[in-house]
Symmetry: C2
Subunit: 145 residues, 2 copies
DNA sequence: CTGAATTTGTAGCCGTGGCTACATTTCTTG
DNA sequence: CAAGAAATGTAGCCACGGCTACAAATTCAG
């Protein structure tokens, strides 16, 4: 379809890009809820400073994003207190981690170095459909055998 | 590393997210130059209307982005004329298409339906390192045999 | 308990990529 | 060739996710 001799249907192509743009909107949310969940599990709480440090952004940016997450019902935060996940946020975190781990496992099984696998997975995980995820899982099993 | 019992080094984690943010910046450029190259190859020229239709955005958005691509030296465009790629833009287009095709081929080989493979590849291709790309190529060969 | 350090919040700026609405130019067609 | 259609440009709006700088609250030491 994307060969140089012919172009696919414009509407179909537009739908793909639309899909990617849509995924972008949820990417940040997924990364944050996953990290918040990790911090709660390990440290007992999730605080702005550590989110900022681990995301590699300023605390002001974290604040702004946490505000959005709260508006969207993923997170509960009160001024100067630590951050909690709503049920919906926790579900998203679990799902995000599941995807992340499937992608990482597959990449490692495919022969990618652990470091690169982690890096690439971070970018890939948000763009993998359930169908593809299933195929990657299956493939990981086959490779390992 | 991302298991629930321990957290990896904060700086390393931040570097990953930084990498993803960096990739985001070039994503749009890659998608546009690839599409422009396709249109030139098939239609003989790339025009704003068709870019807009195929990207699924308004022509105003296309205009703005083409302006940025020109500032960045990827594209040449004169008012009311069609759009051309610079050498640098063409290189980027070729490289983007190469990545795209490797990812699509791999996904199909992995058992993903052609439609889903195309959709997911659009999101994935920008986040795959050279190392991973090589592994995917190799794996595609093995699966097909 | 008070003062300093830390954490958190807020204001205001920027670039990007969306959009609509309107202006202008080019193309097409009668 | 002129008029209408189509394409392109431009202005101005928005939300997002960056940032710095400054303000306020909380925590921690002494």
């Amino acid at each position: 379809m994307t060969s140089s001799s012919e172009l696919e249907n414009a509407a179909l192509q537009a739908a793909k890009f639309e899909r990617v743009r849509e995924a972008h909107k949820t990417e940040v949310a997924e990364d944050y809820v996953e990290l918040i969940d990790d911090l709660i599990n390990v440290n007992g709480e999730a605080r702005v400073v550590e989110l900022a440090e681990r995301m590699g952004v300023s605390h002001a940016t974290v604040n702004k994003i946490v505000g959005r997450l709260q508006r969207e019902g993923l997170v509960i935060s009160r001024p100067y207190r630590s951050i909690f996940l709503t049920d919906e946020g926790r579900e998203m975190a679990v799902e995000a981690r599941r995807r992340h781990e499937i992608v990482v496992k597959f990449l490692k099984a495919a022969g990618v170095s652990p470091e690169t696998a982690e890096i690439d997975a971070e970018g890939i995980e948000h763009h993998v459909s359930d169908e593809t995820l299933d195929c990657l899982s299956a493939l990981t099993g086959k490779i390992e055998i």
